[in-house]
């Protein structure tokens, strides 16, 4: 330190005296002692206040903890309360959404398909009538040459079942119902139960269907 009047050499082991400080650090002389602690007791009133707070905390957790379940998001939930099962929207509503997001790109919004590439859904004998055809195709996909309404197609319809997009019965039923009811197709809805039954029957099937397989089992 440049302000030190008496230079101390490195390694000088002579201890500092308080007198040295007077010169070196006038600041330290006016410095108060290092902080210490008093031992006043905690005020009684505070303990009552904290007791009250802890009690409130316990009551709050008891009332709004949703039984500590991971799947309860409503703080007002009580163990006896009948759980409101999430209502599924009508098949047509979900079906329209699924169709727009998944099918429309190929089969087009008007269901007419693209001639020579993607077969039509509107007015197609494949989708109306026997409900097993559309459900089977959705569950496993369809590949190879087929003929729809007088035109030939040779493409790949992807699977939306276990080995594809993994849709559940409700989703398959929704989109099938939507396709069968739109564009003046006028076919009745397909229920979830019907899809479940067909899914059970075709559980052993591996790979996509061919056109002959489908038509052999369910002629137009």
């Amino acid at each position: 330190m440049s302000d030190t009047p008496k230079e101390r050499l490195p390694g000088d082991s002579a201890p500092y005296e308080d007198d040295d400080i007077h010169i070196v650090h006038s600041q330290l002389l006016r410095e108060k002692d290092e902080p210490s602690e008093g031992f006043s007791p905690v005020p009684m009133l505070l303990l009552f206040l904290f007791g009250g707070l802890v009690f409130w905390g316990g009551v709050y957790i008891a009332n709004y903890s949703g039984d500590f379940r991971w799947d309860i998001y409503n703080p007002e939930w009580k163990p006896g309360m009948t759980e409101k099962v999430a209502e599924k929207p009508p098949l047509m509503v979900t079906g329209e959404r699924l169709f727009k997001n998944n099918c429309q790109a190929c089969h087009q919004a008007n269901g007419a398909g693209v001639p020579g590439a993607f077969p039509p859904l509107a007015g197609s004998a494949w989708v109306v009538g026997d409900e097993a055809r559309i459900v089977k195709i959705l569950l496993r996909g369809l590949t190879g040459p087929i003929e729809v309404e007088g035109n030939s197609y040779n493409g790949n319809m992807p699977s939306y079942g276990e080995n594809g997009a993994g849709w559940n019965d409700y989703q398959i039923a929704s989109v099938s119902t939507f396709v069968r009811a739109s564009w003046d197709n006028g076919a009745p809805e397909i229920t979830e139960e019907a899809v479940a039954a067909i899914r059970g029957e075709t559980a052993d099937k591996s790979g996509a269907w061919s056109g002959e397989e489908i038509l052999g089992a369910h002629p137009l």
Partner: protein, 498 residues
């Protein structure tokens, strides 16, 4: 003694120190001199950088065309640069400077390897520079409080470990005897911060956890940086300097004890209240709310402890630059924490969530409490490290008044405006924006309050410049300043205070 023996006796950390207490303090000050001054200098530079980005971001809120042609100053980047410059630049450097110095003084250990501290400190600041640069060039992450590109995280963590380990080792080799309350807080924080930072980085950016767990981790981290890093460091500084400057003991050891352990117990849970109404299991949110309300316990205890220590010394508090800032910080801590507990209630959160009210609250905690406390700490520490006095009492007054009034105006403006914003947002009859200039909209009601925030920001900028000039003047000023006699006080104290 042979040279070898004397070498070993010299590096023995538990070597008896046979010096009187004040000499020991003076030796600690001298040994901490270079690292503490370095950290403080970095901190003040970051404070100015952060202030610049804050002003840019604030102006863009009410005048979107301001600097709109500069890609690297778009709102998202300027705001994140502000947050990170303040959190990792200003706050952490201030903590490394003031916090470690307080720890060193209380431990009175033989300080070794302070060169390590300097190298780690330089690496830390290089990492923050790279991080801020990454944010400005568009490499920012979408995680609040962790916006710096994840590539700098290992460098930050590594530099921190060198600094934190150094603090912990210093405590290990402290002078035997009573451990003071400030030491508990600093030791706790030195362990808490790396735990928070490493877990958050790992679970969000390096090995991402699934879904809402990321959001939970994010708010656990962001709230705890304030609660388990800045708060204990701020409280440690208050606990050290308040009795130190006044020359009175802290009111009650038992209250200190209760305050520390209740903070350690409850604060860690509180961050979840940022997700009230979110897709998080109800029990987690309820626990977060209860813990937030339980924070009343440490806050009341600490407030009583500080109040009973300082009571009756208003004159000394007012005249000491250190205590003016420290007491401002301590009062803000109490008030901000009560607000925080109240805001965590579901019914209140319904209004304040997603509004400027939260922003006001954040500045209440980080600036009005933490930053003001650190200013006070720097005002006390620098004269001891440099063996000089602050050159200008006027600049200290300018700093105090502009910072105090500026932050007061910002908090009132943002919280009133935020409350109105929240009520408007919850009212379906009031549109968010409207093409009809006559219609009352949420935005139109909010803009004047946002404007008041910019004005408050300008006041803070003036205060920070006064601080910077005073600091630079002290550090590199002419010799006359160095030999200025007596302490720089803000009034006549009849010999009290420092």
């Amino acid at each position: 003694m042979s040279p070898l023996l004397s070498f070993f006796s010299n590096i023995d950390p538990q070597r008896e120190t046979q010096v009187s207490p004040k000499v020991a303090l003076s030796e600690v000050d001298q040994q901490m001199r270079v690292p503490a001054i370095m950290f403080t200098t970095f901190a003040i530079c970051w404070l100015l950088v952060g202030t610049f980005f804050a002003i840019v971001a604030s102006f863009k809120m009410h005048s979107p065309n301001f600097l709109a042609d500069w890609e690297f100053l778009t709102f998202g980047r300027a705001r994140s640069a502000h947050l990170n410059a303040m959190a990792y630049g200003w706050s952490n450097n201030a903590i490394f400077g003031v916090g470690l110095w307080v720890m060193a003084r209380l431990c009175k250990a033989q300080i070794r390897f302070s060169g390590l501290l300097i190298i780690a400190g330089i690496f830390w600041n290089v990492a923050v520079v790279i991080g801020i640069f990454g944010i400005l060039t568009g490499g920012l992450t979408s995680i609040e409080w962790l916006e710096m590109p994840k590539q700098v995280a290992p460098l930050l963590a590594f530099s921190y470990i060198l600094i934190g380990m150094w603090g912990i080792l210093m405590f290990r080799y402290r002078e035997r005897g009573h451990v003071y309350v400030s030491q508990w807080y600093i030791l706790g924080a030195l362990f808490w911060f790396p735990w928070l930072y490493v877990v958050a980085q790992t679970m969000i950016l390096f090995e991402p956890a699934r879904g809402t767990i990321q959001a939970l981790t994010n708010w656990w981290f962001a709230h705890n940086v304030l609660g388990l890093w800045m708060t204990p460091m701020g409280l440690a500084t208050i606990y050290y300097l308040m009795p130190k400057v006044l020359g009175r003991p802290i009111y009650s050891y038992y209250l200190s004890l209760l305050g520390f352990w209740s903070l350690a117990l409850f604060y860690n849970w509180a961050g979840v209240h940022h997700l009230i109404g979110g897709p998080i299991p109800a029990w987690l949110i309820s626990c977060g709310i209860v813990a937030s309300v339980m924070m009343v316990i440490p806050v009341v205890v600490t407030a009583i402890n500080h109040h009973m220590t300082a009571v009756g010394n208003a004159r000394a508090v007012w005249c000491s630059p250190t205590l003016r800032f420290i007491v401002f910080g301590a009062m803000s801590y109490t008030l901000a924490s009560f607000f925080g507990s109240w805001m965590a209630l579901r019914d209140v959160s319904l209004v304040t969530h997603f509004t400027q009210f939260t922003v006001g609250h954040a500045h209440h905690g980080v600036y009005a409490f933490f930053a003001m406390t650190m200013f006070g700490g720097i005002y006390f520490m620098m004269p001891r490290l440099l063996a000089r006095e602050w050159p200008s009492a006027t600049l200290i007054k300018v700093h105090f008044w502009f910072s105090g009034l500026g932050i007061g105006m910002m908090i009132v403006g943002l919280q009133l405006g935020g409350w109105i914003q929240g009520l408007n947002l919850n009212n379906p009859d009031i549109p968010f924006v409207s093409s009809d200039p006559e219609t009352m909209t949420v935005i139109k009601a909010l803009v004047p309050w946002l404007f008041s925030r910019s004005v408050a920001g300008m006041l803070l900028t003036i205060g920070h410049f006064a601080f910077f000039v005073n600091f630079a003047w002290m550090l590199i000023g002419p010799r006359a300043v160095r030999y200025k006699e007596g302490p720089t006080l803000l009034g006549n104290t009849e010999g009290k205070g420092a």
